[in-house]
């Protein structure tokens, strides 16, 4: 291109530019109308039965029976014609009534005399005879938001989140007295712990994503949310650093670690709350013990970056709260308003945050050296392996 051709380009006014920008959209709208009018797939599908999909979103066990929320995530409308519980046609009331369009939701109240501790199966039959099943493995009444449950979930959150992290922070004086090699080992241990948490969170996220209605594109949602969380925390860290003096760098890292762990623990709280709510936490106490042991190591991860600075107790406590308290919040939300979409999003945010923290710490301890060279040293490798092993063994208690 030469300068001359640029000069000959017509000058477009601002209004014209808008018009040009909107034109494709207008044409697109016309195209959609056209497709809707003359559905080419109709010729192929002919009289083939509609593609029906229903996803059980929430099943509550109330004293009066089951309360079921279903979502139509298939392309075609679905009409729920009958409801079966344990292979018996059963009375039900649907709200709102009628056909469910794409992504429409309905609530079904089924006055079934369910038996505590037994298993039950709910089956929906659509107008075309397609069936959708939901299994209740162990029937336990769904907790309703009450002060008692609030307190119980808060206590569980304390047990598995706040207290273990606080205990982990008590290693701070030991860490301060470590030599270079010892510190390398502890920080590598921390990285190992975090990498394990990352894998753990990602696995849970993928599982939750796979169980979601197809329309929500669980895996894509998880990965996008994780990536965005990573970038946001990266820029948040950069912003914190730009504001803080050089000496505060260790604090920035510790704070980011605490935030990452906090987000992870929030997801953990959701899972615990939901498990109790869904009556799936038959091994409740063991689950709590497992999480408690597991999470004590998280406190270590927070104080490791602070080995070379002086930390007042109040600042350490604040970090502990950032990392631990979200568990309580997660347990409340998971217990009372569990939603598969939000749990995938929160798990993704946790994963993104942890990934960012891992990168942050590694960058910091490598101090300009190539990361590979840093990893090659004996204490670092030993620390990483120890971190993995610690998480693996304590993770076994969770089952």
């Amino acid at each position: 291109m030469t300068e001359g051709t640029h000069a000959t380009e017509p000058k477009t006014s601002k209004g014209m530019l808008w018009l040009l920008a909107l034109l494709p959209l207008v044409l697109l709208a016309l195209l959609l109308v056209l497709i809707g009018r003359f559905d080419v797939t109709e010729a192929i599908r002919g009289d083939a039965p509609p593609v029906e999909e229903l996803t059980f979103q929430r099943v509550e066990l109330l004293a009066e029976g089951f309360r079921v929320t279903v979502l139509n995530d298939g392309p075609d409308p679905v009409t729920i014609a009958q409801v079966l519980v344990d292979e018996a046609y059963w009375y039900f009331a649907q709200e709102p009534s009628g056909e469910l369009r794409h992504l429409a939701r309905a609530r079904l109240d089924i006055p079934y005399p369910w038996v505590e501790g037994d298993g039950h199966e709910i089956r929906l039959i659509t107008a075309t005879g397609v069936t959708f099943d939901h299994e209740i493995a162990v029937a336990i009444e769904t907790p309703r938001p009450s002060w008692e449950f609030f307190a119980i979930f808060a206590l569980i959150g304390m047990y598995v989140g706040v207290l273990p992290v606080a205990l982990g922070l008590l290693w701070y004086p030991v860490i301060r007295r470590l030599g270079r090699r010892g510190l390398d080992l502890v920080i590598a241990l921390t990285v190992g712990l975090l990498l394990f948490l990352l894998i753990d969170t990602a696995q849970e996220g993928f599982e939750a994503a796979a169980a979601m209605a197809h329309s929500y594109q669980g895996i894509a949602l998880f990965l996008s949310a994780a990536f965005i969380a990573y970038l946001l925390i990266e820029s948040f860290g950069a912003w914190l650093k730009s504001r803080a003096p050089e000496a505060e760098n260790a604090w920035v890292t510790a704070r980011l670690v605490a935030i990452g762990i906090g987000l992870h623990n929030f997801g953990e709280g959701l899972a615990i709350g939901a498990a109790f709510a869904l009556g799936e936490a038959a091994l409740g106490t063991l689950l709590i013990v497992g999480f408690t042991l597991h999470n004590t190591t998280e406190g270590l991860a927070i104080v490791a970056p602070l080995a070379r600075v002086r930390a007042p107790v109040s600042r350490l406590a604040l970090l502990g709260l950032i990392a631990g308290a979200p568990t309580i919040l997660g347990a409340w939300i998971g217990g009372f308003v569990y939603s598969p979409v939000w749990s995938v999003v929160f798990l993704a945010i946790g994963a993104g945050a942890i990934a960012q923290v891992v990168v942050q710490i590694t960058r910091q301890v490598a101090r300009g050296r190539p990361v590979a060279a840093y990893l090659r040293s004996g204490p670092v490798m030993g620390g990483l392996v120890a971190g993995f092993a610690l998480m693996y063994v304590t993770g076994m208690l969770i089952g």
């Binding site: 009289d47 039965p49 509609p50 109330l62 009066e64 029976g65 009409t79 014609a81 009958q82 409801v83 079966l84 292979e87 018996a88 046609y89 059963w90 009375y91 039900f92 009331a93 649907q94 009534s97 009628g98 056909e99 109240d109 089924i110 006055p111 079934y112 005399p113 039959i125 659509t126 107008a127 075309t128 005879g129 397609v130 069936t131």
Partner: protein
């Protein structure tokens, strides 16, 4: 008969609002039947919340009419003549001529649940045929369906009338004339014998064939009950069980019978996928005539079990007024639709 597609039925009936409205109706009936109040605000552990919700459209198929219809007696005179004609023979017997056709059709087997059936004359079970022992039976069968079909009768007949061998298949658009003498007297059945058998039968190609003895049985209120099932999601297991196709129909529409009058039930088992089905009547006993081939009773009981294809004539008289439940004594079948009431008055 026009082909009825799944889509058009769904659109035509505007199911959405229908089921909801009918739900309330069905509930009202249940409450009237002595069940607890099931108002939506009170989901309580009601003992009688069991049962389907809503009503089926009885314009397409009315189980109540089917009970007491044979030889197309449910049709107006002129229309009936298109499907059934009888001619007196020199020896005093009748020549009975039938027009049967197979056709693919959506049928409603529980309120709002539609099954893509294969039917004889658009209904499941197919029309009940009834002759007297020694009558000549001639059936013109036209296959308007999308697959090869046959009619295989139980009863005496030469092998070329059996409708079971590969060269007996009546291809779509073709027809065949079945002819034989009705014997022995008893309760028989007919069904399609094309392969795969399971599919051709469970899709709905079956019906009842009654052969009366020359000296008639005592007059009675006669009821035809075909025990059947439907596998709506094609997993080899029935989602719906019933007598005469509609789940729990006689829970809300009891069969009215006269106190002290002989009731004769022609009970046929055509349930696919399950080895046996059964019939149990509350508060009473009945005399059993296995396959209806003997005038004397074989046993007196209140529960009878039938293999697929087995059938019995049951006779009883209602002694007390009121409602009497009848159902399969397999609780699973009962709760999946095979349950109803007699109302004696």
């Amino acid at each position: 008969m026009p082909r009825i597609s799944r889509r058009s039925i769904l659109q035509a009936t505007g199911l959405g609002s229908l089921t909801a409205g009918l739900g309330a109706l069905g509930r009202g009936r249940l409450a009237a039947a002595g069940a607890e109040d099931l108002s939506p605000g009170r989901m309580g552990h009601a003992g009688h919340a069991m049962g389907v919700v809503g009503r089926v459209d009885t314009d397409a198929f009315d189980p109540m009419r089917f009970l007491r219809s044979w030889n197309f007696s449910d049709l107006p005179v002129e229309e009936r003549a298109r499907y059934y004609r009888e001619t007196k023979q020199p020896d005093g017997t009748l020549l009975r001529e039938y027009d049967l056709f197979s056709v693919d059709r959506e049928i409603e087997i529980a309120p709002g649940v539609f099954f893509p059936a294969w039917t004889y004359n658009g209904q499941v079970p197919g029309p009940t045929l009834r002759a007297v022992e020694g009558d000549r039976v001639r059936i013109r069968f036209v296959n308007l369906g999308s697959h090869p079909h046959t009619i295989h009768f139980h009863g005496w007949h030469p092998p070329e009338m059996d409708g079971s061998l590969p060269d007996h298949q009546v291809l779509p658009g073709d027809e065949f004339l079945y002819e034989f003498t009705a014997e022995p007297f008893g309760l028989h059945l007919y069904h399609c014998h094309s392969v795969p058998l399971k599919r051709h039968i469970h899709k709905g190609l079956y019906g009842t064939f009654i052969v009366d003895p020359r000296a008639p049985r005592p007059p009675a209120d006669e009821l035809v009950m075909v025990m059947n099932g439907f596998d709506t999601n094609f997993d080899g297991d029935n989602e719906v069980y019933a007598v005469n196709s509609v789940a729990h129909f006689h829970l809300t529409e009891p069969i009215r019978v006269e106190l002290g009058k002989l009731v004769r039930i022609y009970l046929v088992n055509l349930t696919e996928f399950d080895p046996v089905n059964s019939f149990h009547l509350h508060g009473m006993f009945f005399d059993v005539h296995r396959t209806g081939t003997k005038r004397e009773t074989n046993e007196t009981t209140d529960t009878i079990m039938l293999c697929q294809g087995e059938r019995v004539i049951l006779e009883t008289t209602f002694r007390y007024p009121g409602r009497f439940m009848f159902h399969a004594h397999q609780s699973e079948f009962a709760e999946l639709g095979w349950m109803g009431f007699f109302e004696a008055a």
